[in-house]
């Protein structure tokens, strides 16, 4: 601290760079290697044990031989995602989920032993030995020939002449910056949340969305909020919350034709009206899956709470899985910026639309999209031949990345995280929304953005990571608040008290966010293709089966005027 910390820059040249080693990055790297490219995967943590992937244990597969009908799946997801589903990407899930699942099965990542018996077994290393999907993922990558670089946090993408030419990051353990010169880059850095203890996602901070936004990519889906469950004692501790999730195999699930209405925000209306629930709170819209479904083994997928109650609102600021992220410019995971691709939770593939329809779409979506993105990136890399970025650019990025370490005085990154929690966490900001409250939060965030973020101090490399995470979290907070203000209606997991009903005329549209030429945040609507809008002649109340508070009264008054 205080000194001028010039980290030496190590330069690596690769064909395809994959940022993030969760399920999406795994398949992106595997596919790009298969296509004959030299692939490096970089992760700020450890491949297989970081991000969301270690926690998920369901994978939805479309299986025609088991009677699945594409038509039913599409109708189901459209209704639950309230007609904001991107059917190009949803069709990709229908086509590719079974082949990806079969690959995982082959590698032993989905293990086929009988269900773990929770009465007689204690989750333990012994039980996991040899079958642990988290340890198998990097093994398979290594065998395939993917170079993994771990504990390196990527902070910026390298750009020249409108193209992305790799990325740069710092090592967590060494005084070293790494510049990855790549012909094609795939962002698989996952989603994020505001470091609230309810969900095990403190390492996920929307870094991919933030880096892509800074090089001019479009971002979408920031207007829909997740509302997952957790426990009130040691929320999502491996043992207290969901031991089965952690030690068990991955279950195939049946897609959006089963389950209730998905993970909607409905329970919050009940809490608002009746006060916080005390015991055995079971949200109505988390109905267990069809008990005779062969793909859920007759097992309830609801978490069991051996020593606590289920509570809602686990992941403050997380969007709907697969709906927030980098906006795809085509059907092949391309960001619109030459050389840059994205997949998984970092891609706004909109396979879930406005609300998470069923379990399994998170993991399966990441697998399917990762594979396609890896393929597209490999094809691009095979044709590309741009000059690498200049030494001066590398020096500038290195200098900016290290700035928090080199300052004498400054703001504590943990304090910035506290500010973000206090501003974004209350249920009346991002869950029950209203114009003035959103504006008041936005004023706070703008101040933090302008006055605090440029002066964050890091006393060591751990805090340097916290500093960059805080910066990305603040940028995302601004996107979320602006997108929520912009969408003047209610739909899925977006409820505006001041506009408590769907408005099909104005809002069968996605909200796209860009940085304009002055560096300001710009929002626009992108209309949903007519053929994806569902049956508009259907009466409102059957088209939309979930009721928002004051919705029908609002519509009646509007019709009366």
């Amino acid at each position: 601290m205080g000194s001028n910390n010039h980290s030496p820059i190590t330069e690596l040249t690769v064909d395809v760079l994959v940022i993030g080693g969760g399920m999406a990055g795994f398949f992106a790297a595997i596919r790009a290697v298969e296509k004959g490219q030299k692939v490096v995967m970089v992760d700020k943590g450890t491949v297989g044990r970081s991000g969301f992937t270690p926690w998920a244990n369901t994978f939805c597969i479309f299986d025609k031989s088991q009677g699945d009908s594409a038509d039913d799946w599409i109708k189901g997801v459209q209704a639950k995602g309230e007609y904001l589903v991107n059917l190009d990407y949803f069709s990709m899930l229908i086509e590719d989920s079974l082949p990806r699942y079969s690959q995982l099965l082959q590698w032993g990542i989905v293990d086929t032993r009988p269900e773990w018996d929770r009465e007689s077994a204690i989750p333990s290393r012994k039980y996991l030995a040899g079958h642990d999907r988290r340890l198998l993922l990097p093994k398979v990558l290594k065998k395939a020939g993917v170079t993994m670089i771990q504990r390196v946090m990527v902070t910026e993408l390298l750009q020249n002449d409108g193209c992305v030419l790799g990325a740069m990051g710092f090592h967590m353990d060494k005084n070293e910056m790494i510049a990855f010169h790549a012909k094609a880059t795939v962002i698989c850095a996952g989603a994020g949340g505001y470091k609230a203890p309810g969900f095990p996602i403190h390492g996920s901070t929307f870094d991919g969305d933030a880096m892509a936004y800074r090089v001019g990519a479009s971002i979408s889906g920031k207007d829909f909020m997740d509302f997952h469950f957790t426990g009130d004692i040691n929320p999502w501790d491996v043992f207290a919350m969901q031991e089965e999730v952690f030690v068990n195999r991955i279950y195939p699930t049946k897609g959006p034709t089963v389950n209730g209405l998905g993970i909607g925000i409905d329970p919050i209306f009940k809490i608002q009206a009746e006060g916080p629930p005390l015991k055995e709170f079971m949200p109505e819209d988390l109905a267990p899956p069809d008990p005779v479904d062969h793909r859920s083994q007759g097992k309830s997928l609801m978490p069991k709470m051996p020593n606590g109650n289920i509570v809602m609102g686990a992941a403050t600021g997380l969007g709907v899985h697969k709906s927030e992220g980098i906006w795809p410019a085509n059907k092949e995971c391309f960001s619109g910026i030459p050389g840059l691709f994205a997949a998984g939770d970092a891609l706004a593939s909109m396979i879930c639309g406005a609300s998470y329809p069923t379990t399994g779409m998170g993991l399966a979506g990441s697998a399917v999209q990762g594979y396609r993105a890896g393929e597209a990136a490999a094809e691009f890399a095979a044709r590309a031949g741009k000059e690498p970025v200049s030494q001066a650019t590398l020096n500038r990025i290195s200098h900016d990345t290290m700035a928090p370490l080199n300052a004498d005085r400054g703001f504590n990154p943990r304090w910035v995280n506290q500010l973000l929690l206090n501003t974004m966490q209350p249920y009346y900001i991002l869950l029950i929304m209203e114009k003035r409250r959103l504006e008041s939060a936005l004023i706070q965030i703008e101040f933090i953005q302008e006055h605090i973020v440029p002066r964050i101090l890091a006393q060591d490399r751990h805090e340097l990571r916290l500093a960059h995470e805080a910066k990305n979290l603040v940028l995302n907070a601004e996107m979320k608040l602006r997108a929520c203000l912009f969408r003047e209606e209610s739909r899925g997991n977006h409820y505006r008290e001041d506009f408590p009903a769907r408005d099909d005329r104005e809002w069968l549209a996605w909200v796209i966010i860009n940085r304009d030429s002055d560096g300001k945040m710009e929002l626009r609507k992108q209309a949903i293709p007519i053929e994806w809008q569902g049956d508009l002649t259907q009466p409102y109340e059957s088209r939309y089966q979930r009721r928002f508070p004051n919705e029908l009264e609002f519509l009646r008054t509007k019709a009366g005027n």
Partner: protein
């Protein structure tokens, strides 16, 4: 509260916890060949470290440590 080294004598300094923790809570003391809980206040109380510790040296208990936070340092 949160992550604790209840049986530090068991720790063999393998570094698995450093790699496992999603919140970068541990550092390895190379000389002593022991792990150090360097940033307990950043622990998310998920227990993943205990699953991948080969010796059972780490324990995670209910609750979270919150050290006083100074805004400006």
């Amino acid at each position: 509260m949160a992550v604790e080294l209840k049986q530090i004598e068991n720790c063999i300094g393998c570094g698995s916890c450093v790699l496992t923790c999603p919140c970068d809570v541990f550092r390895l003391d190379e000389k002593a060949k022991k792990t150090v809980i360097a940033y307990p206040e950043d622990c998310q109380v998920c227990s993943m470290c205990t699953i991948y510790c080969p010796t059972g040296a780490i324990f995670v208990t209910h609750g979270k440590i919150t050290k006083p936070i100074t805004a400006y340092m």
